[in-house]
Symmetry: D2
Amino acid sequence: MIKVGVFGATGYTGFEVITRLRRHKNAKLVFATSENSAGKSLSAVYPVGWDVPLISGADAPLNAVDAVFCCLPHAASMPTVIRARESGVRVIDLSADFRLEDAAEYTRWYGVEHTAPHLLAEAVYGIPEINRAEVARADLLANPGCYPTSVILAMYPLLRANWVAADAPIIADSKSGVSGAGRKLSLKTHFVEVNENLSPYSIGRQHRHLAEMEQAVRRWGTVTAPVIFSPHLVPVSQGMLSTIYVSLNRDTTPAEAQSLFEQTYAAEKLVRVLPPGELATFAHTRRTDGAAISVTVVSPRQLILCSSIDNLGKGAAGQAMQNFNVMFGLDETEGLL
Amino acid sequence: MIKVGVFGATGYTGFEVITRLRRHKNAKLVFATSENSAGKSLSAVYPVGWDVPLISGADAPLNAVDAVFCCLPHAASMPTVIRARESGVRVIDLSADFRLEDAAEYTRWYGVEHTAPHLLAEAVYGIPEINRAEVARADLLANPGCYPTSVILAMYPLLRANWVAADAPIIADSKSGVSGAGRKLSLKTHFVEVNENLSPYSIGRQHRHLAEMEQAVRRWGTVTAPVIFSPHLVPVSQGMLSTIYVSLNRDTTPAEAQSLFEQTYAAEKLVRVLPPGELATFAHTRRTDGAAISVTVVSPRQLILCSSIDNLGKGAAGQAMQNFNVMFGLDETEGLL
Amino acid sequence: MIKVGVFGATGYTGFEVITRLRRHKNAKLVFATSENSAGKSLSAVYPVGWDVPLISGADAPLNAVDAVFCCLPHAASMPTVIRARESGVRVIDLSADFRLEDAAEYTRWYGVEHTAPHLLAEAVYGIPEINRAEVARADLLANPGCYPTSVILAMYPLLRANWVAADAPIIADSKSGVSGAGRKLSLKTHFVEVNENLSPYSIGRQHRHLAEMEQAVRRWGTVTAPVIFSPHLVPVSQGMLSTIYVSLNRDTTPAEAQSLFEQTYAAEKLVRVLPPGELATFAHTRRTDGAAISVTVVSPRQLILCSSIDNLGKGAAGQAMQNFNVMFGLDETEGLL
Amino acid sequence: MIKVGVFGATGYTGFEVITRLRRHKNAKLVFATSENSAGKSLSAVYPVGWDVPLISGADAPLNAVDAVFCCLPHAASMPTVIRARESGVRVIDLSADFRLEDAAEYTRWYGVEHTAPHLLAEAVYGIPEINRAEVARADLLANPGCYPTSVILAMYPLLRANWVAADAPIIADSKSGVSGAGRKLSLKTHFVEVNENLSPYSIGRQHRHLAEMEQAVRRWGTVTAPVIFSPHLVPVSQGMLSTIYVSLNRDTTPAEAQSLFEQTYAAEKLVRVLPPGELATFAHTRRTDGAAISVTVVSPRQLILCSSIDNLGKGAAGQAMQNFNVMFGLDETEGLL
């Protein structure tokens, strides 16, 4: 039984990690932290009623666990990750703090100094379907952002096969449920402001997740063209769909493109390539840890990919648990939804 | 042309008052205040794009207006109302500050001292369908709360006819859209907490609006039995339905009860008594300033009334504008939705 | 491994039964039927992508299973239940067809003749927390309706203790998510008609579930007073809350009433009595198979109970699976959410 | 006072036309038709309670009106339009039947023969901000589809200025509320299927509205590149946003692009070009008849336009009423929301 702790257990991703730990046969939750609710039970925060005692992060017994999930906000995660690594604990970090390999780039996008640049080299940005072997060896796993996961999973077959045009931008028009914005208070998440509304934000080349996407596109492909990324907030609690417009450097056919995707993910349990004619929707992955991708050929050199994940599932806690399973040599889907 | 000012223009009720003023033929908006957005335009707060300059309440030119709508939170409203009355300006106050005739009762429910008890005697709690003549004479109009409006309008025909049993409680099970909770930030109005949820709160005899309801039931009827009032928050932006269970002191029939309601409101433009068999829903009054009431006879001495208003319409800004129209001798529905 | 079949697998309750069977360690799905989608896979109907072959009910191999879940509409269920019982298969029927012990009463409420009155005596109306021993022996289990489950679970501690006033009506004001109305097409479930709306329907003594409630109240208590039941449709996919107003035949205190409820359900895993001051909401049981009940003492003889279940969980498929587990001597929560 | 009739008054667009006619100072509703509800009042269909008698289209007194709004489904509209034109009545047709100038193209997209090709030459596809003079002369006005309106209004400044690259596709990723799918029953509009979901459909070059868009792009610009159009259904009743990715044939700057849009629409009351940095959302135009457009320069030759309309407002009934006002020389915004 692998002993784990969760930092930041009362945010949406922390809660979802605990949801999966409760189902997990090989992991045991040793502690869960919350600065705001230390001393209370998780059932005081989430009405579903799980009696998990919450402690302050400062009191977390790092010597009693094999691994920790860090579900803290960016910047707040760094000191905890440093502490955990100094204790020899393996870390799955769900924040953005170890996703970018370049500390200067991190500072540029997140507006704070990186206080653990020495750990960046060690950190593995992990999507098991792409770099499973690296994940297995990781001691510090940087769990990808939700938007990047949806875009990179869909792009990966094309990148690997080197089909993507070098010069035309990759356009990702993404739609996300509101839990992606977290539980902290903001007019942007007030019910009356979100309900019956749909809002683009940070479109073009302004959103922080763009840096992750481009880093991945460069790492796992040969594309030099920019990514254009336009997120939209939709009045749904959980869910994410990226509609991706890709220009190719070669002609293809619907059958060939479909086949490329199906072959790439043939062995994967969590990624479904939908049959021709069926488009991915939120419902394909809602409250699951899987991904669903549809491939539409508009013209011989123009594709539209629709990539669906649950932003809290494959987009956060689900992928974190999947990475944990890979890191510890367990059944990759254990505990997953 | 009657000149008016609006205090608290960027809350939901303030915005809705301005919505109606824009349509009003006989009223002209002279100023609108907002402490948070003074110096900006209303279009910076509400994207619908109305270019209304916002000033601080301290700068409001009270000598340039005939009337003001106070859309401030309770307690914050009192000093502004005092100022306005001292300037001789007629006031329609949408807060709770002048609804209860007894200052001690106000303090008991709202937890603050009443700083203008001398104005309580002057204040008129006004629902035109019930006390139109009083409203017409009012210089300080206390606009009723949303829940009380929905309950009192439905109970009034029974109260006036003295049909209500003296001993059995009147049970009002009310459902409200989220805008009733206002625009200030709270986990209770966070999209993810409200969406796909439905929550009772302050049920029984705990909600502040209970005091208004019982005051009205005593004033406009002879009932001494308690009111039991259970509000519920529903994932809808605007709307309110009270399902009211009433015991009678006499036997009735569906036809007779229906007739009592239809006769009571026969001359009213804003209150619809629905035909037998049609139950009031949110949709009956959504984004309007009307009320819809259905009467269901369960047994000779047991009725269920369903009373629908828009919480921002007849439950707030619509009734405020209706009261304004009555106060100034205008067409009662001018500017209304 | 117990072999089971599911009739009506593509309705919402059928799908939820299959959801739980997929998690179940001791049950194996042998067949699933759908008249509209026979020959297809369940993944063609529900995008979550489970590859369950669908067959026509006429082709169901009853001799290959130990039990069947009947998730067919009322009236349509009877012939299938008859067939299954004639094959010696144990039945959990989620329709209303075997819930009322009196065939004439069934006909009065459902407008069709009962074609298997001989099976009514055998049928067990089962809520394990109340009549577990009976459920264990059942060969034909009539799974309760969602509304009755929410009301009866909340009333049971008071009924058992004989606290309920004989003469005052029990008033249940219930709110349900839209999946309770099923998947068949109707303007009442059209998104635009439901969204931003809230609608009472069949209030008072008109809804079919009233018959079940009164049958249970008479069976498990000594109450002779009528039940008044007012269902409301709310714009939520899954969830149910009954706000129940009960008059007592004795004085009580908050502590005593709380204690009665806690003691009654002390040994139950699926029913939570919430701590004093916490009111049950949809969120307490959303997407789970549990129930949550809060007890509010308004005055010494007047209580308000808030009873929350997921209409598809404890209100349908969850309770069906729980009953199945009891019938087959399994861990009662196996497979449950 | 101009006398008008409405064909198809109980669909969403028909109802919205009547909403605006009720506010209109210079128009009088003479008849309203509904095949399903003839003989009833509109208040039997829409609970808001307007007492408009409904008649069968066959009984419509065409000789008593100056103009008719046809709010019938495509194909069903043609015979009514023919009748109206033969009676000399001016027609605003909200269906797709007269939007495409080429009858063969109509047949290709809509799968039915065009039965009034002689009227196609007469028909004016009208967006007042673009071809006001043509609209003024029209006897048969083909009111544009909602998606095309959102896309064409945003593209028009670029088309007129000849800034659009000839070879790169124009990509319109559009999001629509559910009322755009109409009131007829379909699993696609079932609350439980739509709620908490988001679905792309007919993406690429498959949706019928593509034909309108390309016709307009060719007519009002010199672009020969294809349009790629991806509509998505979102769980909102009313609203539409098109996020449009455009490649330019010249370099531009944010200030220059902003200025082009502001100048193009400087004189227009219904089209707002948002200030730099503010992105168009559903909320900018919700329940209004206006449009809001934001311009984002991603790189010197790459723009993102966000174009917001209410699909029932500027996307249907609002633009229809605007066209009517232009046709009859009235104030262009009379009756509009």
